[in-house]
């Protein structure tokens, strides 16, 4: 079981926390627990939460983590939970320098959790809620049976990415009653208000009234359509409209809550890991590191920053980008004058000694997510410095290869990868498709096809919740396709888009 800090570790914590505050980091109270490697693997398998609802996939995660450790392929160094207070885990066998590094890194995350806008709507008592979710699921297991519940969780998890990432920030239908009243008042179209009756025909010509009537009619049609507008939160739609048993909706809502809780972490991976790495490196090298710890620190730090050609390391990309922003704002390398300067030598020696870097990065960490972060701050110079490229699969050679180093393409690919965490955007477009109660979804195709076998299996799971045939419109090889699963068979129909 986790242990609280030993006196020496408590002293280290105090020291690192002091440095972090001195640098202006602003975090929730942070509780460190000391765990053995096995315990760390367990907690990590549960996504950081020691109490989670029972499911085999945590067991699978655990198996993979422990195996990765046994074979020396991977080792978890830090694990932080976005909660108030923040919880973080320290590996008991780590050396002091490791512990300091991890603590400094953790304070970076905690500052980010507390201040970045993406986390503003997250549940800061998630640790309690996760435990409650576990209790609810256990209770259903006792009542319904483990097989049935687990089977349902499998299906629900299959749909867990069908949420609307931006939903927490949007308030929809602030007052449904008002919307309805407005609709009623629109039923009779009288045109603009007329004071003198003889001017009616002039102010409201019949064509105008007709077009207004048509508009109202369309509006009503749309209202009848359900959902009114395409809905990205497929889980919410199912919760509201699928004929679920009480226990099924309860579990589905748990899966949805947890998906929303984790969504901001997916949206800010590069920023958040970069920020934490920036701070562990700053705190360690400027303050906490002792002479005899330098080699170990450098070894650990470079281990985290290592890159492979076929993958982006969010720690590395993040920390470099934060440093780049800091340098640019220190030297005044931004704004009109900078943008318009095309004298390479002048650019290279450009230094207005503004020293606004620190201030700037603190501001950026508040208001951006990975997409806006990359979009705003990833410059051509940076992409060249960091040797970024686009890679793709060459079918003829049956291998991955470098496709392009052109800045625009690199940036676009990166942004595309980050959109909706690199997952397809799926919406419910019709809950009464063909007037037969079928569920119609649409994939907003952005040039990448869905993985076919997975799509069919997922559709099967949607159908089993909706209890009626489920369909999805997508595109394969540039041709419109409607995939449909009716509970027995999969069909595929070509359609015009």
């Amino acid at each position: 079981m986790p242990k609280s800090l030993t006196p020496p570790l408590a002293r280290l914590k105090q020291e690192i926390e002091g440095h972090a505050r001195e640098f202006g980091l602003d975090f929730f109270e942070t509780i460190f627990e000391v765990v053995s490697y096995d315990e760390l693997n367990m907690v990590a398998a549960y996504g950081g939460f020691p109490t989670r609802y029972p499911h085999w996939r945590w067991g699978m995660e655990y198996e993979q983590l422990s195996k990765g450790y046994e074979y020396g392929l991977s080792k978890i160094y830090e694990l932080v939970i976005n909660n108030d207070p923040c919880y973080a885990y320290l590996l008991e066998s780590n050396s002091d320098v490791d512990q300091k590094l991890v603590m400094a890194h953790v304070y970076g995350h905690c500052d980010f959790f507390k201040n970045n806008f993406s986390f503003r709507h997250t549940n800061r008592r998630m640790i309690d809620d996760m435990a409650n979710h576990a209790t609810r699921v256990r209770r259903w297991i006792d009542k319904i049976g483990v097989e049935k519940v687990e089977d349902f969780i499998d299906r629900a998890l299959s749909l867990e990415n069908l949420i609307d990432q931006h939903a927490p920030h949007i308030r929809r239908n602030p007052d449904p009653q008002r919307a309805e009243d407005e609709m009623k008042s629109n039923e009779r179209v009288e045109g603009f208000k007329v004071n003198r009756e003889y001017m009616r025909g002039f102010i409201n010509p019949s064509e105008f009234l007709d077009s207004q009537r048509k508009k109202v009619e369309e509006e009503k049609q749309r209202a009848k359509k359900f959902p009114e507008r395409p809905q990205r939160d497929v889980l919410a739609f199912l919760l509201e409209h699928a004929p679920l048993e009480p226990w099924e909706s309860d579990i589905l809502s748990i899966i949805r809550d947890e998906a929303y809780y984790f969504a901001p972490q997916g949206q800010t991976k590069i920023m958040n890991e970069g920020w934490a790495s920036y701070w562990h490196s700053t705190i360690m090298t400027r303050r906490a590191l002792k002479d005899d710890e330098v080699i170990d620190y450098a070894d650990r730090h470079s281990g985290t920053m290592g890159t492979r050609p076929g993958a982006l390391n969010p720690y590395k990309l993040g920390i470099e980008l934060w440093r780049d922003i800091e340098e640019r704002w220190n030297k005044g390398r931004f704004g009109k004058e900078w943008d318009e300067c095309d004298d390479l030598r002048a650019r290279r020696s450009w230094d207005k000694k503004l020293n606004q870097g620190r201030e700037k990065i603190f501001e950026v960490r508040k208001h951006y997510n990975d997409i806006t972060f990359i979009d705003t701050f990833l410059t051509a110079e940076f992409a060249i410095d960091q040797k970024l490229f686009v890679y793709g699969f060459n079918d003829k050679r049956n291998s991955w290869e470098i496709l392009d180093r052109e800045f625009r393409k690199v940036k676009n690919k990166l942004l595309q990868q980050l959109t909706n965490f690199g997952q397809p955007i799926i919406e419910v477009v019709d809950g009464n498709h063909d007037n037969r109660g079928e569920l119609l979804m649409a994939h907003k195709h952005d040039g990448q096809d869905l993985k076919g076998d997975y799509a069919r299996e997922t559709l099967r799971n949607v159908q089993s919740l909706w209890r009626r045939p489920a369909c999805i419109i997508t595109r394969y090889d540039n041709k419109g396709v409607l995939l449909r699963f009716d509970g027995q068979n999969h069909t595929e129909k070509k359609i015009d888009l």
Partner: protein, 369 residues
Amino acid sequence: MSLRIHQDHSRFKQIVRGKIKSNLRKYVQKGEMIGKKGKDTISIPIPFIDIPHFKYGHKEQGGVGQGDGEVGQQLSPGAVQPGDGHQAGQGEGDHSLEVDVTLDELAQILGEELRLPNIERRQNEKIVTQKIKYTGVNTTGPESLRHFKRTYKQALRRQIAMGTYDPARPVIIPTREDRRYRSYKLQELPETNAVIIYMMDVSGSMGDEQKEIVRIESFWLDTWLRHQYKGLESRYIIHDAVAREVDRDTFFHTRESGGTMISSAYKLCRDIIKSDYPKSAWNIYPFHFSDGDNWSADDTRQCIEMLREDILPGVNQFAYGQVESPYGSGQFIKDLREAVGDSTNVALSEIADKDAIYASIKDFLGKGR
């Protein structure tokens, strides 16, 4: 906390077991299992245990990477790592899961799936081995068995009781009386011993494909018998016109070009049994594989005679597998069927190709002998 993950972990393993079971036929035909064998475990790839999502095919997707290289340069194999979709910069890839299964578990699964009866032991629990079992803690014992934790606990307890423990300076010094030692008992374990004597025809007509079949099949026979008996020995005999005993490696990799005299192998088999495996103490399993093309009817007659008189009376089961070769399938299995096919301890099986291994295992082990 620990309890929780162990429940989920064992549930996961149960699911994996089901997956293995449903794919067993495929695994049985595959030679690479044998190559992957660790000491006691084997890695089995389990397809598609991940929960399906709407997602992009990784190969269509591509991504952004970092490092040196010209446009058009290939990335080294393994450089592109399929990650989970939540990680920036990594696309989702096809991954199959490799799980470690113990050979014992694998044998169990095989048994359940093929409905193999447990083997009736002919010789029961004759040989006894000793095993050390640590049963408790004692106040005396050799230093090498000192129980550090218990010793210090005892010392701490004593110091607290005596009032000499200072939490600010937590120094604990165990005295002679504090020392604790692990204590053990010797357990006598009865053991049943068995021997498999593999014989293989390595004459010119037995090609690589045939040997591969023998290799795969004998792996499964081995696995099953090892599951049934604690101590299992294996001996290997190859023969063309003459027979000799070899090690395992040679057994599977020798190719000769001579003719075939099966009797030479049976003779050697008989002698090995006679000198090393008295039937009073051993469960004996001769397995012979050939394409059935024996040199002469006369040699076949000798074989049958030897089987009837020397081999069959002393063994649990004699098994003959006839592997089809490019030169067709020989006469030998028919001769055996006529002569000894009715004996309860004879198993005969024709193996046309790799697909037939599955059924052949059942031929061999289905009698439960």
